[in-house]
């Protein structure tokens, strides 16, 4: 099929450059990929399991937990009809993505949940999933404000994914009083 050709030498730049071309990024990547998947401390609901097409169960849990911290919305405090499953929406969104992006997301989640990475940067040998909510928030804050570019980049990618999946769902709009295209008269 057209599009399979080789491209001129010197024109290829992998999208993982931010990971591979920084010392700590490369180290973290190497170590994190050698580790077995961490113990899963929560279970993916049965009705969700069959629906996942992109995330592994562990990845689903990581994104769910990160999303709860990032958007500050948890399922327990929201009525079921208003609950937005950000991780499931992200799974559907990413399943149509290009392979290069998909590979990046898998890598990011592996590194993000890695106990080695957490130990290296936060002196806590714990996966993200194993942390309590307070520690998870602190961990995310560390990624957001890090001096290392690859961590800030990873944070932004995770934040944008979760925020976009949450706030493109119209069930999130009542809380922020967004009513679509037109400003309501009462707001005027």
């Amino acid at each position: 099929m057209i599009g399979e050709e080789q491209f001129p030498p010197g024109t290829e730049i992998g999208r993982r450059r931010f990971l591979k071309q920084t010392l700590f990024g490369a180290a973290a990547l190497s170590i994190a990929r050698l580790l077995p998947e961490g113990y899963v401390y929560a279970e993916v609901p049965k009705d969700i399991r069959g629906q996942l097409t992109f995330f592994s169960e562990q990845e689903y849990l990581i994104v769910s937990a990160a999303s709860a911290c990032l958007t500050s919305h948890t399922a327990s405090e929201t009525p079921p009809e208003k609950t937005i499953d950000v991780a499931l929406r992200a799974d559907r969104f990413l399943s149509d993505e290009q392979p290069e992006i998909q590979e990046q997301v898998h890598l990011l989640l592996t590194i993000f949940n890695s106990a080695i990475v957490a130990f290296f940067f936060h002196f806590k040998f714990s996966t993200f999933l194993k942390m309590d909510v307070e520690a998870q928030n602190s961990y995310l804050d560390g990624w957001m404000t890090s001096w290392f570019n690859f961590r800030r980049t990873g944070f932004q990618a995770l934040k944008r994914l979760c925020m976009s999946m949450h706030y493109t769902d119209s069930r999130s709009w009542d809380e922020i009083r967004y009513h679509g295209m037109f400003m309501l008269e009462e707001q005027q």
Binding site: S72, R160, E175
Partner: protein, 510 residues
């Protein structure tokens, strides 16, 4: 005729007088003029074909249907989100309709630095006039600005800064504010409902969902080949080959150089893919007691241009309003967690302005990655960074001048500025490295730059490649410098002029 990918069930083989890759501000006018001159014109467009009935004014639908990489396109380090349309009509389908002529100092730079001929202010004036008349470009009356644009008008005026009211290409606008999501009311005079519609009426054929992958040159004939895509999944359905003596690449400053690099064409200068400018953009958000509802009303109607080329160095910045839809606001808003959620609850009270830097010492480049797609790299120059900082400080001052309670920048480490007196000290302590400040671009330009000299430019002053006769690049990629204004009128005018030259210099085959 416009043919969607789903209607193409077997390999497509066509020939024409002119083949155009891309249907945006470059390809649209070119198709219209050449189809009206009696030529057989075929346009191939990577994105889908949608009409007002397909638009529901929501981000979820629009980003999926209308934007390149579903609005997730970014530089290699993910530091700068690069927004582009990907549909029939290109970015004109999703822009905010700001229609401005190229500043004279920019056109002067092109002539002095690159020897560009025939694109001076007087040369382009009749084309600007024609574009503006055709697209019904008109500035808004004073009473028509939404509260978010009033922040700029009133705030800048209060501080003694110059402001302008920009023209917009609309007809029958209902002020819904959904311009960036595809106009559901058919009021936006975008390329798909103007130039492309006229081209089709004159006999042109548009194949949507067709991504060009390679160009081959055989004597005077050019052969463009590529894949027909499933509009929903993006998967390859079948392939196409189109032959024509004149081939116009109008695939944008991101994708035109990719197509030419993959085809190993038009790069004897070594400049192909280089000189990328982004009109680098960041924003300030502010909290008001009154309702602003920055996602509604006319999104962009006022500009503060006091600081553009103020030092005569061709650089500087300007400030525009920006409509903030919920997901866009949430992604850009600094921080996360409870404080972020609390700020989102204040959504209707948020004002937002963008600061756009006309670059003079930044450098960007497009290369081809392993998958054959664009890889965007960009380094911010020190002078441009200086203008970016000054722009953010100026925008914050404008918001405080009209009663903002608090101003936030888009630094990843949240910055909350409580008063106009605090602006300088807060911004001085902020970090300005890549991925320390959320940056955007909606105006990538310059990767196939125009110029008189084949050793320094990809195309000549008629947008024909220096290397291959009959191979043209007509889109934002030919701009040799950052423009300093939203680029659609400039691209449309240059496209009209170049298409006329093609009509005069390349005879019809039949």
């Amino acid at each position: 005729m416009i043919v969607r990918g789903k209607e193409i069930t077997k390999p497509l083989r066509e020939s024409a007088d002119v083949c155009i890759v891309g249907s945006g501000c470059g390809g649209g006018p070119t198709a219209r003029i050449l189809a009206r001159s009696g030529r057989k014109v075929i346009v191939v467009e990577e994105g889908g074909y949608y009409t007002a009935a397909d638009f529901d004014g929501t981000e979820g639908t629009a980003y999926r249907q209308l934007y390149q990489r579903r609005a997730g396109q970014a530089t290699e380090d993910l530091a700068i989100t690069v927004l582009q349309g990907r549909c029939v009509g290109g970015s004109s389908t999703v822009n905010w309709m700001t229609s401005l002529r190229t500043p004279e100092f920019t056109l002067d730079q092109w002539w002095r630095r690159f020897g560009v001929e025939g694109l001076g202010p007087l040369d382009l004036e009749p084309y600007f006039d024609r574009v503006e008349k055709y697209l019904n470009v008109r500035p808004e009356p004073e009473w028509n600005h939404n509260p978010n644009n009033r922040i700029i008008l009133d705030g800048a005026r209060a501080l003694g800064y110059r402001t302008i009211v920009n023209g917009r290409n609309a007809n029958g606008c209902v002020k819904a504010g959904a311009c960036g999501l595809g106009c559901p009311f058919g009021a936006k005079m975008s390329v798909d409902v103007t130039y492309i519609r006229d081209a089709v009426q004159a006999g042109a054929t548009v194949f949507a969902d067709c991504r060009a992958e390679k160009i081959e040159v055989n004597g005077k004939m050019k052969r463009v080949s590529g894949n027909v895509l499933d509009a929903v999944t993006g998967k390859v359905k079948t392939d196409f080959v189109i032959e024509a003596p004149v081939l116009v690449v109008s695939a944008s400053a991101i994708n035109s150089p990719v197509l030419l690099l993959k085809s190993r064409l038009a790069n004897s200068s070594g400049e192909l893919g280089r000189n990328l400018t982004l009109h680098l953009t960041t924003a300030v958000l502010s909290l008001f007691d009154r309702v602003i509802y920055a996602g509604g009303g006319i999104p962009q109607s006022a500009i503060c241009d006091e600081f553009l080329n103020k030092k005569g160095d061709g650089g500087g910045f300007w400030i525009e309003a920006v409509p903030i839809y919920p997901a866009l606001a949430a992604m850009a808003m600094p921080g996360f967690g409870a404080s972020h959620r609390q700020m989102m609850k204040e959504y209707v009270h948020l004002g937002a302005s963008i600061v756009l830097v006309k670059e003079i010492d930044s450098s960007g480049r497009i290369t081809v990655n392993r998958q054959g797609r664009a890889s965007i790299s960009y380094e911010l120059g020190s002078r441009d960074l200086g203008y970016l900082k000054q722009g953010v400080a100026t925008a914050a001052g404008i918001h405080f001048a009209v009663g903002a309670r608090k101003v936030m920048t888009l630094h990843t480490t949240p910055t909350n500025i409580a008063s106009a007196d605090d602006v300088d000290s807060v911004l001085r302590s902020a970090r300005w490295g890549m991925n320390e400040l959320v940056l955007f671009s909606a105006h990538p330009l310059g990767t196939c730059r125009i110029g008189k000299y084949p050793k320094a430019a990809v195309v000549d002053s008629h947008c024909q490649t220096h290397d291959v006769q009959g191979l043209f690049v007509i889109d934002g990629s030919v701009m040799p410098t950052s423009l300093g204004v939203n680029p659609q009128v400039t691209i449309l005018a240059i496209a009209e002029k170049s298409a006329e030259w093609i009509a005069e210099n390349f005879p019809r085959r039949s």
